[in-house]
């Protein structure tokens, strides 16, 4: 039950892109077609889903006071988290290059940039500050990734439809994407404050 609550909360109510505006760069740049957006979304789900539990274990068992060193090493948090994320992204890059060269070339520079996708590091830091346990951190990783995936596929679909609209030429493409994201963000603000745990209790 806890798992489902955190999953739904992180995917819809506290969406990383549309509520916290994390991971905007790749979100805006790779959302030109649904196909590439879909691929990048899956990669983000994978990276978030894997790094979150690993970072939880590192944070609790190595850096914390109850960890194997029995000292407070939390000042190393940034560097260790980013190292885990970077190695995972490198792994994903090697896998995609091997199995889908077409997707690899279409993602281009934005594949290595998943490393510096603020959503990934931000997610790990949220996990620490919200004091999630292991199950919750797995749920948060998968849910946050799913929310990101949903948002990028949604905007890619809107942008594909937008091509048939009569948008002023200078606003076409990127400019329109910014304004659409702003509108989607305002729409998602209405979901904030819903508490799934309280709803389940009733």
């Amino acid at each position: 039950m806890d798992f489902i609550n955190v999953f739904i909360k992180s995917a819809f109510i506290e969406n990383l892109v549309l509520a916290y505006f994390l991971g905007m760069c790749s979100y805006l740049a790779v959302s030109k077609s649904i196909k590439t957006a879909f691929g990048l979304g899956l990669a983000v789900i994978f990276v978030l889903g894997i790094t979150m539990p690993i970072n939880w274990v590192i944070n609790e068992k190595i850096l914390g006071e109850n960890g194997i060193f029995h000292t407070d090493l939390t000042f190393l948090r940034f560097i260790l988290f980013i190292a885990v994320i970077a190695s995972m992204v490198q792994l994903v890059e090697l896998v995609i290059e091997k199995f889908s060269p077409a997707l690899y070339t279409s993602l281009g520079i934005f594949l290595p940039l998943i490393t510096v996708n603020c959503a990934i590091l931000g997610g790990s830091l949220f996990m620490v500050s919200r004091e999630y346990n292991f199950t919750q951190s797995v749920a948060f990783g998968l849910g946050g990734g799913f929310g990101w995936f949903l948002a990028i596929v949604a905007i890619a679909a809107i942008r594909e439809k937008m091509r048939y609209s009569n948008v002023p030429a200078p606003l076409r493409g990127l400019g329109m994407a910014f304004i659409l994201t702003g509108l989607m963000g305002i729409a998602f603000m209405s979901l904030m404050g819903i508490d799934p745990a309280a709803l389940a209790g009733k």
Binding site: F78, I109, N117, P170, L174, G175
Partner: protein
């Protein structure tokens, strides 16, 4: 064969600051702006721009980090194996960000306190990583350094424009928190507190109160999305070759 040798001689005599170098500095300000054209570094442009002063400090910090990480990566570029390049780059960036953070903490504690989270987040600012991947890994140190400075300035320019609009309409002030703080517009009964006082104690204003209300949308990060959209619109109206044809 003769041609090749001539070319080599010409390359050696390349000036330290020629046309190409100048282009590296000016290109990111207009044709290749990091935010409006390359779409890099949006997250921090949304997060820190609600006030002008922190955005200026942020712009300087990012410029320094991009310039020096470009320089060091370019110096090391032939030694970095392709498979672990990201980790090497991140170590360089993280070290530089730590240095910048410590300098800021030592010399301007108040602004460090205000920015602390976002200074740390320069590590995940895609501009730094993006320029390392796209430019520094394939170019000589001096040019990479200039490219870093240019991109930092292009990023900073947009940041300052957004933050001026947001602070002016959202709070009615400019440069709040800095020694040069200005109170531009707002309701106040104290004489000379704002340049434009919108409260009047007599006449029609007595019942209505202030005729100007701060726009609360501008305080939210959503506002900077609309502002960047507007900047792109204006930018591309004057720079036709950037218009998206597809």
């Amino acid at each position: 064969m003769a041609e090749a040798t001539v070319k080599e001689v010409v390359q050696e005599k390349e000036p330290l600051f020629g046309k190409k170098e100048k282009k590296l500095l000016t290109d990111p300000l207009n044709d290749n702006n990091p935010i409006t054209v390359q779409v890099l570094g949006i997250c921090s442009a949304l997060a820190v721009t609600s006030l002008v002063y922190p955005s200026i400090v942020m712009a300087i910090a990012v410029t320094l980090v991009v310039a020096f990480s470009n320089l060091f990566t370019s110096l090391l570029r032939t030694y970095i194996p392709k498979q672990v390049r990201m980790i090497v780059q991140l170590v360089i960036i993280a070290t530089l960000v730590t240095v910048v953070e410590l300098i800021l903490k030592a010399f301007n504690y108040a602004i460090w306190k205000q920015l602390s989270v976002f200074i740390g987040l320069i590590i995940t600012n895609c501009i730094v990583m993006g320029r390392l991947e796209a430019f520094a890994m394939a170019n000589k140190p001096w040019r990479s350094f200039l490219d870093g400075i240019g991109n930092g300035l292009g990023y900073g320019g947009i940041l300052v424009i957004i933050s001026i609009i947001r602070e002016l309409f959202g709070k009615g002030t400019l440069f709040a928190g800095s020694p040069a703080a200005l109170n531009i517009i707002g309701p106040s009964n104290e004489i000379n507190k704002y340049w434009i006082n919108t409260a009047s104690s007599s006449g029609f204003g007595h019942w209505v109160g202030s005729w100007y209300f701060n726009n609360n949308l501008m305080v939210l990060s959503t506002a900077s999305l609309f502002i960047i959209g507007g900047i792109i619109w204006i930018h591309r109206t004057y720079n036709k070759k950037l218009v998206d044809i597809s």
